[in-house]
Symmetry: C2
Subunit: 363 residues, 2 copies
């Protein structure tokens, strides 16, 4: 069995690492020669829309998936004509455009910030009147890690902001004065069975995920599973999907979805019975899903821009390093660290030791 | 950082899988084009004693190790002239010859069955008189999974047995009427620090390991750690070493050592904080060792000769499949299954479900 993955970053690398023990080999299509996934599978180095690259990727592959949402949906649609491809291209089209995504949230009556579609400065000026400030202006496509965003604290911040963000289609969203952020990772198999990991509390630094930890909150968990399941069913989804929420007054407010394995779920490799990566692979190749049960206490940190002292890090018990084999560069996710422990206080101690060693360069 | 491994079987494959998250790439030297390790790293397909193969393996490698003990010690000695190589070639020479191995046990006052060196039929006839029967006759080198062995239940079984086992150097050992078998896996780093996994109880079928499970037995654990540490120090060992024992009357009786990661330790991937594979890699590249603490309840089964129904298998919660990507063949280890659970009764239930699905072909 061979899995084809569009995209060759660390998510692809970890998908391949999860696939191999199931007897599944992986090959990737990615335009970068430095794609870090190539250490875990075969790299076809070509543009995402190259007919030749797509043809090579299909050769010998049994099933196709993608590892990030900025892949052209036309590529996935082309691949889907020849081989089973999951998640569906429609999920990709939804997730890569914030306006389509938010419209679907509203259609499914999923609570989400008020928002407006911005195609020029006049739309923006009107939206500032309609929604008021504070608000967040975001590019509709291709944004990630806080890139392509501007916070509008007051009406005057909107002056010329359309041009400032590149004169591309934008969305303006009412600013939510949230208490914290969570994500819910769900997986749906080809028979329509769904499983959900526990809610994950996420902490960002300069728009980049810094720390993730699963939490036990039965009220929010029930809300989240209901919302995520409605989305998985609506999209006729197969694979792992991440749903990000703001939490305010014990309510979830939908922020965005990612139709793929997600950074906030990296702790599942050591911290859950079956990881988000293995469950994605199981779903797309047609195997039954694994248990999302948490194993002990666990938290995850991103290593951003600069490597810490690895010897010191690995001397801490319960620390698991995942080095992506990427060179150091400001604001770049180059590794993550999962910290495990049997008891909460032990986890906290180990996390403090890890935090003291992190030398993240956020740029 | 690049790790060179002599041998390209499933042990090499799992070493490479453990190395990659540490940012370490692996390459293998193995004469077989079908080497299953090549899915996890680069394969140099050449004889173990090929000067060209050894040269290629050294290129770009930072450190050398081996994944099984039937590698020619001369190959490891040659490699060690150019690059750091662990474990030392002397450990290999000791472990691959049962007479040298048993002599070292005696030198270190480690309890072991009485034994005799057999170089011809006359030696064997004398040994039958000296040691008596029952006894086990084994080839001194190249035996594994019960191959190259003959049980002598009575003196007449020794008739012509020297020729029967190939007229090669043999060892005769008094038969131990043991209660059960255990192994102790220890790891020693370059600074001389040692860590030990809990004792593992092993069950064999037709001489092939069938099931392994860590046990908590403080008395035997203390005996085992003392014995294994004396061996690690004596050999100036770096890396993972497995020590197999018979248990009788609450005493350990040394059977044999394997200077490498070991089948009975495969459960450590999911069942211990840091696996035997990761700890071997950490030791040989000069990183601090990880914790051997057990995570919950765990047991391992070998998949021998024939694959079970994988869909049914993966539908059992807590089941982790490790398919080595090898074709089916009687008596061949083609995969292993680790079963995890939070409670002992839950583990037992899951193990029963797994056992019902195994269709092992022992040949």
């Amino acid at each position: 069995m061979k899995l084809a993955v569009v995209g060759g970053g660390q998510l692809g690398r970890m998908l391949a690492q999860a696939a191999l023990p199931l007897g599944i080999k992986t090959q990737f299509l990615d335009p970068s020669e430095q794609s870090c996934a190539q250490d875990a599978g075969a790299l076809i180095c070509d543009a995402y829309d190259s007919a030749e690259g797509i043809e090579k990727l299909l050769q010998g592959s049994d099933v196709v998936t993608f590892e990030f949402e900025n892949v052209p949906p036309s590529t996935v649609a082309t691949l889907a004509q020849s081989k089973p491809a999951f998640p569906p291209a429609s999920a990709l089209s939804t997730a890569r455009d914030r306006w389509i995504e938010k419209s679907l949230f509203q259609q499914l009556t999923i609570p989400t910030p008020r928002c407006a579609k911005i195609d020029n400065q006049a739309d923006l000026d009107q939206a500032v009147i309609d929604l008021g400030c504070p608000a967040v202006l975001k590019t509709r496509t291709l944004g990630y890690d806080g890139k392509g965003q501007k916070v509008l604290r007051q009406a005057s911040d909107a002056d010329n902001a359309y041009a400032e963000l590149g004169s591309v289609p934008l969305i303006m969203e009412s600013f939510i004065d949230f208490e914290y952020e969570v994500s819910c990772i769900g997986v749906r198999d080809q028979a329509g069975q769904c499983v959900f990991y526990p809610l994950i509390r996420n902490e960002h630094r300069q728009g980049i995920l810094y720390r993730s930890q699963p939490i036990a909150d039965p009220v929010l968990q029930a809300q989240a599973e209901s919302i995520v399941e409605s989305m998985l069913v609506e999209l006729n989804y197969v694979g792992t999907l991440a749903f990000e929420f703001f939490v305010k007054d014990n309510q979830l407010i939908a922020n965005e979805i990612a139709p793929r394995v997600h950074n906030s779920g990296h702790w599942t490799i050591e911290g859950a019975q079956c990881s988000q990566f293995e469950n994605h692979v199981r779903a797309v190749v047609g195997l039954p899903l694994g248990s999302c049960e948490v194993r002990g206490e666990v938290a995850m940190y991103n290593v951003i821009g600069r490597q810490p002292d690895v010897k010191a890090l690995l001397a801490i018990a319960g620390v698991h390093l995942h080095d992506y084999g990427k060179s150091e560069r400001a604001a770049r996710k180059i590794a993550h660290i999962t910290v495990t422990a049997q008891a909460a206080h032990q986890l906290e101690e180990r996390c403090q030791q890890v935090e003291a060693l992190l030398v993240n360069d956020l740029g």
